[in-house]
Symmetry: C2
Subunit: 440 residues, 2 copies
């Protein structure tokens, strides 16, 4: 009998079918036992007379002395019958059960309880098991949708996907914050971003490129917003007039991605009390320059001097945007040169054509126009105390004709975190790496 | 005047438009000069009376003493007129030219010549410039399509995309062939594959997962088929009956991917004299076991004993499949246990439920059913001389109920190489990493 998914029982009323999955819950009422089976589509229940007995061969196979254990993998054959009280309105009656893989009874944490009762450390320590919890796993179903929608939206705008090396010969942003790799008999580094390669591919003629790949930051931060390895959704676009073209693009992109998850992930959003801004709200995201942002914070803080926009300031600016523009997001553009990497296009007042997107109090994007003129770039490299000689490969991109261009990068885990309202970005990371954690 | 793409001139006959791109070719006939401009859509020509003069400001900006240079980035405004001899049947007349970014006249290699005249070393050494050649760049347009089609086809079969860490605490396949990373005050390794994580995600309940990510092999091979960092198209699927379910899946997947590139990349295929097998051909791929493969080679070699299937053998087996089954591809399954990693499901005759796909003489996929039973896996780990204690996180996946499952991985660069008939896999890698090369 070929397998039917739990979510598809309704289409098989009265038929005898087989479902396969994990034993999510066992409710032993003495005379009858309910087994809730979980598969990739959802869950369904089967009603046994008394305890579900395992075949002798199965019992010998492991499990708990012939008793069925939570999380064991089973196949249940039964007749599909309507039952208003069952998930999905149908259940399996007169079932027989075959054990496919027995689970040890001593689970490190319960899969079928509200995960909120476990601390983040326990959830991450036992990641292989905690991810079985449907609510925790659903984070990554939504994340997969964000990846899909990012790529599809950009392709529709003429962008080409690229895959560039994460092993780089020299640090490009001054050599700090890089993880060192022993590469045969020399040292190389893990790329902090595909920045230089995506610029190279714009200039090679693709003009519009995106990359979905890992980025590495050897920073010792230990905060709810930092991880040392993350998925960077990178975009780079040629023939722009200014950084505003990039903010326009990001607004179109986010509007499409948010509309997409609102449609395909509505149940997941409900489970987490998560929401996404509408396209109208995204279109209203204000753009304020760095000085204006500091003025707003100064006002909000009763006139105290504001030197930097710190995490608290990012939250306050989003509150301001919500109050004034009806959207909890704001672009802050025109950072001072000292706050941006050497490749950022400068303006006459020692500022830059850069921007950040703050969303619900967290920076989820950084971007800007890049320097595309060879001599200006060489001068900037020197001013940052770097060595143009060490960057000859990169400089070739600009020495031989590079169009005006710019781009941005969205942190996938942070975006997921802000959509679902997760307290820590690690909850939006399958197998997070931080200063102390490299397993599982 | 907003920008029009070179490929779209036909829609603007008689209008004055602006195109933007790179100066691909300058043909100076004295009285008139043809400039071929290249953009992401293709190319088009503009016809100037005499040499195209640069504005004084532009001339001072760089370039070659007021002369236009190849690869400079320009905007050309002109009137669209039909001309049968021009690419696409239209050209720009009465043009004016604005220099956006001047190119140094001393190009390290010519962008507009047949790239076959340059050796691979020169092409890779000057990758930032060689990728501007439309033929060389087209390899990566096709590759982007393979990535898209891989993901779309699997999503339609219920697979979820995952992104897993590439930094692993311990080597999983015996510790050889791993690159070491200095991770704060400890050593970690670059993952050779997402193998253990994709198994974990099947078992966590996604059942069907795929990942598109980098894989690292610290192997000293220096051959046309090896690179040390590559894009692995990984698939893992739960609730299979045998490894034949996986080969079935791969055949459906390749048929869809090949049909997709035949449609969207027909020009690229023509440029390279590349072809893809049809769906009918893919359906005919024979499946032979390891011993049968060795027998075939023995016969083909006049009875000489065949110990291993070496690269020459892989070519001969594909020739055999072409002759006997009309498709240049063959699955070889049932490798002996000693040739496969510890997690491969064994059979009673010291073989395994594994397979390779050979395509046009090259292994492009390796896969198989995995061990899903806890005790069998612990025993196998020990038999391979590894330490189950060091793999407790991984073993949790199996200790608490893991369905029968398996998967495979396709090397993206190798698949691209075989479709286009490239001599070296590095030609199908944007920025290849080999034993000597970590730049650009």
């Amino acid at each position: 009998m070929s397998r039917v998914l739990a979510a598809d029982l309704a289409a098989h009323e009265g038929e005898r079918v087989t479902v396969k999955g994990w034993v999510h819950r066992i409710r032993d009422l003495g005379k009858i036992t309910f087994i809730v089976l979980r598969d990739r589509s959802g869950s369904c229940q089967a009603v046994f007379d008394g305890p579900p007995r395992l075949a002798a061969a199965d019992a010998a196979h492991g499990s708990d002395g012939g008793h069925l254990t939570h999380e064991s993998v089973v196949a249940i054959a039964g007749t599909v019958a309507a039952n208003d009280k069952a998930t999905g309105g149908f259940e399996l009656q007169e079932p027989t059960l075959e054990l496919l893989a027995a689970a040890d009874p001593e689970l490190p944490l319960s899969v079928n309880r509200d995960p909120a009762q476990y601390g983040l450390d326990a959830v991450l320590e036992h990641r292989m098991i905690s991810l079985r919890n449907p609510k925790l796993l659903s984070v990554f179903r939504l994340q997969a949708e964000l990846v899909r929608l990012f790529a599809e939206t950009l392709r529709a705008e003429g962008f080409t996907e690229i895959k560039t090396s994460k092993l780089i010969g020299t640090g490009t942003e001054g050599g700090t914050g890089l993880f060192e790799v022993q590469y045969f008999d020399r040292k190389v580094y893990l790329a902090q971003s595909p920045q230089l390669y995506k610029q190279a591919m714009v200039s090679a003629g693709l003009e519009r490129v995106f990359e979905i790949g890992m980025a590495y930051r050897a920073e010792k931060h230990d905060t709810p917003r930092h991880i040392n390895e993350y998925v960077s959704l990178d975009v780079e676009m040629g023939f722009i007039d200014s950084e505003h073209d990039l903010m326009d693009l990001e607004q179109r992109l986010l509007a499409a991605m948010f509309a997409g998850v609102a449609e395909s992930c509505s149940e997941i959003l409900d489970t987490w009390d998560g929401t996404v801004p509408t396209a109208d709200e995204i279109a209203r995201i204000p753009r304020i320059d760095y000085d204006h942002a500091r003025e707003l914070l100064k006002e909000a803080r009763g006139g105290a001097r504001v030197l930097e926009i710190n995490p608290e300031g990012e939250r306050e600016l989003c509150d301001w945007a919500q109050a004034e523009h009806g959207v909890p997001a704001v672009f802050v553009h025109g950072d001072p040169q000292r706050k941006r990497p050497f490749y950022t296009y400068p303006t006459d007042d020692n500022k830059t054509m850069s921007f950040d997107l703050l969303f619900r109090g967290l920076e989820v994007t950084t971007g800007g126009r890049r320097i595309n003129e060879y001599q200006m770039l060489v001068d900037s490299i020197r001013r940052f105390g770097l060595d143009p000689e060490a960057m000859q490969d990169y400089l070739q991109v600009f020495r031989f004709g590079c169009p005006p261009h710019g781009g941005f990068a969205i942190g996938l885990e942070r975006l997921t975190q802000q959509i679902l309202g997760l307290a820590n970005v690690k909850e939006a990371t399958l197998f997070p790496r931080d200063r102390r954690r490299v397993t599982p």
